[in-house]
Symmetry: C2
Subunit: 115 residues, 2 copies
DNA sequence: TCTATAATTCGAAATATGTCGAATTATAGA
DNA sequence: TCTATAATTCGACATATTTCGAATTATAGA
């Protein structure tokens, strides 16, 4: 892929994202399933579970899959997009991959419309 | 078009947008040209002009066209998308159509990532 | 090492989006 | 009314995105 770009490393910093990065971010959120994934990860607690609000909520791919009614390969694709845009982190632990929101990026987005 | 939806009337209110509306909003911003249009309208002043910050900056379609290097029909299409998502207002005055940001929607977006 | 589970990559198909030029509509002014 | 300007609609085409199932990779445990 010749024009592959990722915000995963280039963002976040103190520098606000440029237009290219922003388009990527909005593109990542401009899909029903991806927005739902992001919302799930943003809620710090799932119903019926304890929530330590100091920790960032983290959820494995399989758990997300059970809430979404899409094929695993499709979910994998969507997670890659969210990750590429810098919106979420992904970290393998054994057989599972855990996802969590990138709180720095969240802060960046908070400032976006506020300035 | 059977599943045409517009946020132009249904938003903004005090009620936060639902996921469908949000996807529409992000979709509208998830394009190079449309984001640039939105940025132009968000800046209250164009270089070399006076700015009364109490007024919302307004710009006619032709003026936007001169800054964008796309066909008028393409610009028209993009403006329709931004308008449909509820991000901008459009108002004809004589031969020209003036565009401006929907400040209520802007406020809604400010609160989105903040809650 | 072999097996089962978790997740990803790949390739193909269907759908959606971005773009243009030509034709059309809306308006102001001669 | 006729003409020129501003903008939109329409139809066509190219490109991008979404989705799936099949095959593959990564890992833990027997």
């Amino acid at each position: 892929m010749s024009n592959y770009r990722s915000n995963e490393q280039t963002l976040p910093t103190n520098i606000p994202p440029d237009n290219f990065q922003l388009v990527d971010i909005f593109k990542a959120l401009a899909n029903n399933h991806r927005l739902k994934i992001y919302n799930i990860l943003t809620r710090c607690c799932t119903p019926g579970t304890q929530c330590d609000s100091n920790d960032v909520f983290s959820c494995c791919v399989g758990e997300l899959d059970s809430q979404l009614d899409i094929a695993p390969s499709t979910l994998s694709h969507h997670l890659k997009e969210l990750n590429r845009a810098g919106l979420i982190h992904m970290k393998r632990d054994g057989k599972q991959v855990f996802c969590s929101v990138n709180t720095d990026m969240m802060k960046t987005l908070q400032h976006l419309f506020t300035e």
